[in-house]
């Protein structure tokens, strides 16, 4: 399906690297459990990619592999972001290159206030949105800035988690179920924000159980099943493909 792109340093990037973020034949393991079983896909600059699939399909594992968290461990394969070999980096190096992950379990740091959670994101360059801009988007966080982050309500935590990613100047945003636990009004808000930052050139991968919602937002979609890719195409193709929808997305 895919052709392995050539990312060698001196090659002419515009011609040889069709994609901004490229995953090539990635295999990841949790200990001895073989989870991500050789997947490849490309994301182009400024594009929103929806990564879909059932529970346990390996979506989170894929995102975490790209973000170089170390668990799951990527045993082989290549990941390139804007000509940088992510597969050779640790998570903080990958973050420095411009990767931002909003993890599925939010990962608000205990013991730190809301504001400290945000400041933490701005310690290592490159710095992104200012705190004012963040509080403008999420007034709720502004009101709660001195509260300990983990005592926030579930939805507030989700906002903080997204805000924390935006506080850094990132090139690719990896969203793992960003709408989970959010009130419908807020979901609308965030969706608008995503479209807004997309217009400013942000590249995004979104994992979402509400497939319809994700597909309406996304340009393209990749569907995973038991660690492998079963579909890679445009979002509208999925919406039109009855079989895919019922088989993998139950919609």
């Amino acid at each position: 399906m895919n052709v392995k792109p050539d990312f060698s340093k001196n090659a002419n990037a515009a011609q040889t690297a069709p994609a901004f973020l490229s995953v090539w034949d990635m295999h990841s393991y949790y200990g001895e459990s073989y989870i991500v079983q050789g997947i490849s896909f490309n994301v182009h600059e400024g594009e929103i990619l929806a990564l879909l699939g059932r529970n346990g399909a390996g979506k989170t594992s894929t995102l975490r592999s790209i973000a170089r968290t170390g668990s799951p461990e990527v045993r082989s394969g290549e990941i390139w972001l804007d000509h940088q070999p992510l597969h050779k980096m640790t998570s903080h190096e990958a973050a420095a290159v411009g990767l931002g992950l909003v993890p599925e379990d939010r990962r608000i740091i205990p013991g730190l206030t809301v504001e400290e959670n945000l400041q933490l994101a701005q310690i290592a360059p490159p710095i992104g949105w200012s705190l004012e801009r963040i509080y403008d988007l999420f007034p709720r966080l502004g009101e709660r800035r001195k509260q300990e982050g983990i005592t926030l309500s579930g939805g507030e935590q989700q906002m903080l988690s997204i805000a924390r990613a935006l506080a850094r100047d990132i090139k690719v945003l990896l969203l793992d179920e960003p709408y989970e636990g959010l009130a419908p009004v807020i979901v609308d808000e965030i969706e608008k924000t995503l479209i807004h930052i997309k217009e400013q050139g942000m590249t995004t991968i979104i994992v979402e159980q509400n497939a319809v919602r994700a597909l309406e937002l996304a340009d393209r979609a990749v569907i995973l099943d038991t660690g492998g890719i079963v579909f890679d195409g445009t979002a509208s193709e999925v919406l039109e493909n009855e079989e895919l929808r019922s088989e993998y997305l139950a919609i």
Partner: protein
């Protein structure tokens, strides 16, 4: 009145030692979450830095003095330290005399290196391991460090006296209007107290007025997420460990003149320093310092004749008794943070 003041003063210097050791320990244990049974050994190594420097300064060449004999009746070999030969007898003697304060400078790079090596070479691999494994490996390390020191320096204590000018005691009581001899206080203990205050203040300032402390705390709570935010947490942990080792080491260097160093002095302080840190509350620097001073002063009071006759044996159990009472009335010690090492 004077008796009370006296015991408060005594408690202060005991407390300074506890607070300094606990300060270093809480950086590793309360902040990095590593149960470091080798912390006492770091304290001990600090003290032996002073011993080593003293030995270095006393390195001597031998000449035979026919007029005297040694214990087997052979002519006596007289030793003259090189420093005395190089800088003249007087200057040389002064340098040797000031070996403990000089050892502070000598110990800083050594302790930073020891901390660095320990963290990079060993502890690094244990952040994610269960506390039990950390206990085993650091306990093993502590034994090894101890035995190495014992191999080179023996088991007997070795005097590291303070400089001549700082020996002896002051009659503080007279200064505030008590009878002579009511409150005497050794000069070096005052020095130790001031030194402890400076170090504690320095560490506080560093962690309070920079984001370093926050980042390390965050890193301990959730390494992965901090990494995802582009922060190289490993490096900061290493620095933290180095600082902690240096604090422990300096506490040891300066402690030598109070009580001569021996190879097991670290183990003697180990349990106590854990108690101090936990009573202070996990993850709280001020807590550790407060608990250090509190327990030091209470221990001093408990050792008065009045206390021991009222409750026999109180001086032996006071620290543990207070620890139990505090931990039962305050769930996380004096100022502990929620969720740190509670499971």
């Amino acid at each position: 009145m004077d008796a009370i003041l006296l015991q408060i003063l005594n408690g202060l210097d005991k407390g300074s030692a506890y607070a300094l050791i606990a300060l270093g320990l809480t950086l590793i244990f309360g902040t990095l979450g590593v149960v470091n049974f080798a912390h006492g050994a770091l304290f001990m190594i600090g003290a032996f830095c002073a011993v080593t420097l003293q030995r270095i300064l006393n390195l001597s060449f031998e000449s035979v003095d026919e007029s005297q004999t040694d214990f087997l009746g052979n002519p006596l070999k007289v030793k003259t330290p090189y420093v005395e030969a190089w800088f003249g007898p007087e200057a040389g003697a002064v340098i040797i005399d000031w070996s403990v304060p000089l050892a502070v400078l000598f110990a800083i790079p050594i302790m930073l290196f020891v901390g660095y090596a320990m963290e990079r070479g060993l502890i690094k691999f244990f952040y994610k391991r269960p506390h039990a494994d950390q206990i085993l490996v650091t306990f093993g390390l502590a034994i090894v460090l101890q035995e190495v020191i014992k191999y080179f320096f023996g088991a007997n204590p070795i005097q590291t006296p303070p400089p001549e000018a700082l020996r002896g005691s002051l009659d503080l009581g007279v200064m505030v209007g008590f009878d002579p001899n009511a409150i005497i206080y050794p000069i070096w203990r005052l020095v130790y107290f001031v030194f402890a205050t400076v170090i504690i203040g320095g560490v506080f300032a560093f962690l309070q007025f920079t984001t370093f402390g926050m980042v390390v705390r965050a890193g301990m709570a959730d390494r992965e997420t901090v990494g995802l935010l582009g922060i190289n947490i490993d490096r900061r942990f290493t620095i933290m460990f180095g600082i902690a080792a240096a604090v422990a080491g300096l506490a040891g260097v300066m402690y030598g003149p109070l009580n001569p160093p021996n190879y097991h002095m670290g183990m003697d302080f180990l349990v106590l320093s854990f108690v101090v840190v936990v009573v202070g509350g996990m993850g709280s620097l001020p807590g550790a310092v407060l608990a250090g001073f509190l327990l030091g002063i209470l221990e001093s009071f408990a050792s008065t004749t009045w206390a021991t006759t009222t409750i026999p044996g109180i001086n032996q159990i006071i620290i543990y008794l207070v620890a139990i009472i505090i931990l039962l009335t305050r769930p996380r010690g004096l100022m502990g943070r929620k969720g740190v090492m509670e499971d």
